[in-house]
Symmetry: C3
């Protein structure tokens, strides 16, 4: 992956054998061992991606997002960290980091997020959960649950033994 | 922001203190003072973005779109300017600019468009309006109104005094 | 289009007069004559795009997708080729190509896919069909049919003579 254009800031902490496609924009984040990052992915500062994850092309992972080990994140997935984003303050000045607070989200081990999904902020996506493609996730998802739709609703609750799938 | 790959055509009109992330593709457009443009953003010719806006990563702003001052546009937002897009004419020849007309959209001052939203064409999004993440906006949005869903519906109409929020 | 950063692998088969925007990532794919590829597009190996197509910016076309001649694919469209994607196998090892099979999708001649649409796998989108912007397509679409929504439903079935539109 040499000689391809990628912006990886000096403060990015990369684990062992991370594979990075062309045209990524990473800064201030931490990426675990053996994880793959697709093209056109941005990962912001203070975002953490675990080991053996696949972060697919066109995905945006913002500050405040933690993705645990062995998660699949599809293509064009958008994470969010601000409930009421605005460009400026009421006085018309540009908002800075002091004008809003990051609302964290956590994706637990082994979860799978389908392509085109949008993940609102302040949520936990449980271990082994499955988010359908194109879902807009507005509330927590339990471990091993499957959700889909806009807003995302449970398609299939966790069943005993489904960890073995 | 030097030494990072960005395609900014010579005909782009940039205001004062515009901040541009790596991997953007801008041509024939106009960007106002102090506006921030995220990574993987394309802004086409004859699009206008006002001052003190935030245009977040992965967003596409097409010809015919005007975004007034102090608007927030989230990540992965897609604007549209053609109601019935086709690649070719009935005779199989490639469509050119003469084969369709641009249908304009205007986003009025201070509006906020959530990540992953799709904005159909020929619409006005009113001043201070809020578009929920993942919404598909198919009709006009009144000033200070909040809409969400597919297709987007009103969650909260404008309330007296909400300009002060 | 010289001097702009684009990753086009040596094994890409390009037809005559293909036009390619900056910041694309193409490998192992085949692109037909006169087709246009927008910025921030990734097209994977074993994907086939026909002649006189428009593949708009921010779109992802995966292995196993065939797009016939004269199709329009909007901005930020995500194709899928795996029903239950996971990063790792149950034993925690990274999935390789041997651990899943590609589920193919075909977009027939002259179809139009709106921006922001997500196309699940194993589907056929019929000739001249129209997919509304932001749709999540979960089942086959008949020739000349129009679908929209999440999940996509028929807005307008094929009418006699609609081929002439």
């Amino acid at each position: 992956m040499n000689n391809v254009p990628a912006c990886i800031a000096g403060d990015v902490v990369l684990g062992r054998d991370v594979r990075i496609a062309p045209f990524v924009n990473l800064y201030g984040c931490q990426i675990g061992d053996e994880t793959k990052i697709g093209a056109f992915v941005e990962i912001q500062k203070n975002a953490i991606v675990g080991a053996r994850c696949k972060i697919s092309s066109h995905t945006f992972i913002c500050e405040g997002v933690t993705i645990e080990d062995e998660c699949f994140v599809g293509h064009g997935v958008m994470f969010i960290n601000d409930k009421y984003p605005r460009a400026t303050n009421p006085d018309g000045s540009l908002q800075t980091e002091n004008d809003w607070r990051v609302v964290a989200t956590r994706v637990r081990r082994g979860a799978s997020i389908g392509s085109g999904a949008v993940i609102l902020c302040g949520l936990t996506i449980g271990a082994g959960a499955t988010i359908g493609a194109g879902a807009v996730v507005t509330s927590d998802v339990a471990a091993h649950e499957t959700v889909a739709g806009v807003p995302a609703r449970v398609l299939r609750p966790h069943q005993v033994g489904s960890e073995d799938l």
